[in-house]
């Protein structure tokens, strides 16, 4: 209830300050402008604040979202939700969010945030802490709730989630005498060598090794399956641990020994998907969306009915995937946050979660949908997917995520491209990460 008051004072403070204060407001955190908000994200938001709101997120081509919105709008004539479509690229979405936060614009109410942005948006107070009781968090998969939490407070409610899987060429494996997809990299290299005896023209394993966000996912998951972690729960970096070194060395060996083709250094999701779909790879690690492309029988896929799905390969033990997906948060500068809270609850309710998963083939965050018979019909590998998400590991939840992910990509890339040795690259990474969390 107290939340709306400081907001108003803050606005008028800016108004009185005139040009000088306004100019300072170019930065996220102007000295005069934000002094009224030292209460931080701790206070609850005013649930009585109601009226029309907007939802800012990427486009949906399936029509599912339009359907949800029209249902909501029919039921809430005075609290209409308008969709603001953002560009397809996550980087562009992010820069739109940040620009609007910088300008303290109230254009966006509910924000569709990538799971890795939570810490930064929360720490900068661009999004508000949410009333946890309003949402049925217990119904959501715990690994997904973690992605929306920062310093024990909920800042974003999971809407979709995602985990990578290993796609294997069943036909080639059988021909080489294997009836199971590999669980570890070591097993996988063995199978690759065996298959390539007969098919030297087919490359071994591909995943996203270009220098971009996907590479951070790759390093995060191999380090996790080796038993290490890049950041511990307290936020201290351990990039140069023995486990991390083993993990990165595993990937480097894959490249050096030719089990991973050099061209994988250019792979993002779509490049690697295409290579596998054209029959040029035995193994592919990717998100579940590739399945429909592989099974497309219009002639565009060379691997129809030849694909088997399992957990991603592990360095040791069990394969662990990075968690992806999008969460919903509420802009600190928006009006009608009460309506926004209700709307997020509506979007994350079982009925919508189930419909979304069926329509868009994107995994959602509610645990119960994975038990649903209708959903099972659209996902042939639902159990594998569910267990991949359950075991999923978050990318570093740090405020300076942009710097952290770039440092990780730089280190991983320099090693797998043969520029630097794993231990050196990781020692340097550790140094950078330490600097980033300390400053």
């Amino acid at each position: 209830m107290t939340r709306s008051l400081p907001l108003t004072t803050r606005r008028s403070a800016l108004a009185v300050g005139g040009l000088a204060a306004a100019a300072a407001g170019l930065a996220a955190c102007s000295s005069g402008g934000d002094s009224g908000s030292s209460d931080g994200g701790g206070t609850s938001i005013d649930l009585e604040e109601r009226g029309p709101i907007t939802l800012a997120r990427g486009k949906d081509t399936t029509g599912a979202l339009a359907d949800f919105l029209s249902r909501w709008n029919d039921d809430h004539p005075d609290e209409q939700v308008t969709l603001i479509e953002l560009p397809e690229s996550a980087d562009d979405q992010r820069s739109q969010f940040i620009s609007n936060a910088q300008a303290k614009s109230d254009s966006y109410t509910v924000l569709g945030l990538d799971v890795v942005w939570t810490a930064e948006f929360a720490a900068n107070q661009w999004v508000v802490a949410l009333p946890e009781d309003t949402f049925d968090l217990d119904a959501l998969i715990p690994a997904t709730v973690t992605t929306g939490t920062y310093f024990d407070k909920l800042y974003a409610v999971p809407f979709t989630t995602n985990a990578q899987l290993l796609f294997s060429r069943k036909d080639l494996l059988e021909e080489a005498g294997y009836d199971q997809p590999p669980a570890t990299f070591e097993e996988m290299w063995e199978i690759v060598a065996k298959v390539q005896e007969k098919h030297p023209e087919i490359n071994g394993f591909g995943s996203q090794y270009a220098k971009y966000e996907g590479l951070t996912c790759q390093l995060t998951d191999v380090v996790a399956s080796a038993g290490g972690e890049i950041f511990d729960a307290e936020g201290a970096p351990h990039a140069d641990s023995a486990e991390a070194t083993t993990a990165l060395q595993t990937l480097r060996d894959g490249f050096d020994q030719g089990h991973i083709p050099q061209e994988a250094l250019t792979y993002k999701e779509e490049e690697s998907r295409q290579a596998f779909q054209d029959g040029k790879l035995i193994f592919l690690q990717n998100w579940p969306y590739v399945w429909d492309h592989f099974q497309n029988d219009d002639g565009s896929s060379q691997v129809v009915d030849k694909v088997q799905v399992s957990l991603v390969p592990a360095v040791a033990g069990e394969g662990t995937s990075t968690i992806g997906g999008a969460n919903y948060a509420i802009s600190a500068f928006a009006k009608n946050k009460g309506t926004a809270v209700d709307f997020i609850a509506f979007m994350t309710a079982l009925e919508q979660q189930k419909a979304w998963m069926i329509e868009t083939a994107t995994p959602t965050a509610t645990a119960a949908v994975y038990e649903d018979a209708e959903v099972a019909k659209t996902f042939e590998f639902l159990d594998t997917l569910k267990s991949a998400i359950d075991k999923g590991v978050s990318r570093p939840q740090v405020v300076k995520y942009g710097d952290v992910t770039q440092a990780i990509q730089e280190a991983a890339y320099s090693c797998i491209s043969g520029e630097a040795e794993a231990a050196d690259a990781l020692a340097q990474l550790q140094e950078q990460l330490t600097g980033l969390v300390e400053s």
Binding site: L19, A103, Q274, T362
Partner: protein
């Protein structure tokens, strides 16, 4: 002054020896020009043709490298005009923004360039420099202050311009003006000042002389400046994306950036290529149509 592209050599009547030498030279010249033209065509069109080919594949063949899109499909074009994309409307908005920008830029730049080319005043070099200096700052850094300005974040700015044409047109004008001013200044200065003076002796005003004598002569320059301005405004993305969030106000480029596949990672290559063809071809047809009209018209009214 004429704007034809005929070689001056064709009109030189000289002695017989020279004439046959000229004929040989002409034939050789024609061959060189022919080869050059073929090279230009390949250079300019090859990547475009690849875009066209890619747009005619089925969506599921998005990343294929087959030279002939087979089975051929117009599915991507249909997808571009899916009602959810408001693409027709977006094309209209692009036309309004780019057209408005071009008209205003030409007007402002003609006035400014006239002053710079034909009037003498103190600080001309400084003005020229200030104008060009505004093209030296990375646009990406201007976005946040402009957004703040147009959302009414500064007290001295009374208007909220989010979701308006002017929020897109004004920055576009500013980005195109420096080139236009410098360019037109260069073209005006290339034309002899004595032409106007002759007209002024006949009792025409200074500005009348300029409009009737210099503008027609500078037509190729004006027209080229207009084309460049129009295309630059037509292609502007960042400002148009930031200042507008209602689908019915967005420009074609912004609409294209929002095309998506079913899932987050599913890039709709074919649809984007089709959209690229759709926004490029009419632009070029329009430019050609204008070229005939405007240049033809202006040249006809010129002194020569």
């Amino acid at each position: 002054m004429s704007t034809t592209t005929t070689s001056p050599r064709d009109q030189v009547p000289v002695g017989a020896d020279r004439a046959s030498a000229a004929r040989r030279g002409r034939r050789l010249g024609a061959i060189v020009v022919g080869i050059g033209m073929a090279l230009i065509l390949v250079y300019c069109l090859a990547p475009f043709v690849w875009m066209l080919i890619s747009s005619l594949r089925r969506p599921s063949d998005g990343r294929s490298t087959a030279l002939i899109p087979w089975p051929i499909s117009v599915e991507n074009y249909r997808a571009v005009f899916d009602p959810a994309n408001h693409f027709g409307r977006a094309l209209g908005n692009s036309l309004v923004v780019a057209g408005g920008t071009t008209v205003l830029v030409l007007l402002l730049a003609t006035l400014g360039a006239y002053a710079l080319a034909r009037l003498s005043f103190r600080g001309k070099v400084l003005v020229m420099f200030l104008v060009v200096a505004t093209s030296m700052f990375p646009v990406i850094i201007l976005v946040v202050p402009l957004l703040k300005l147009f959302t009414g974040g500064f007290d001295w700015w009374p208007w909220s311009w989010i979701n308006t044409y002017q929020a897109m047109i004004l920055p576009s004008i500013s980005f195109a003006l420096p080139l236009a001013v410098w360019n037109l200044n260069a073209f005006f200065r290339q034309l002899p000042v004595e032409l106007e003076q002759a007209a002024m002796v006949d009792g025409t005003t200074r500005f009348g002389a300029f409009v009737r004598v210099i503008l027609p002569l500078a037509a190729p320059g004006m027209f080229t400046t207009a084309i460049i301005t129009f295309i630059a405004a037509w292609n502007e993305f960042l400002i148009a994306l930031t200042m507008v969030n209602r689908p019915e106000m967005q420009t074609a480029n912004v609409a294209i950036s929002k095309f998506t596949g079913i899932s987050q990672f599913d890039t709709p290559y074919g649809t984007k290529m089709a959209a690229g063809v759709i926004v490029t071809v009419p632009l070029i047809i329009m430019v050609l149509a204008f070229q005939r009209r405007i240049i033809g018209g202006l040249a006809a009214g010129s002194v020569k």
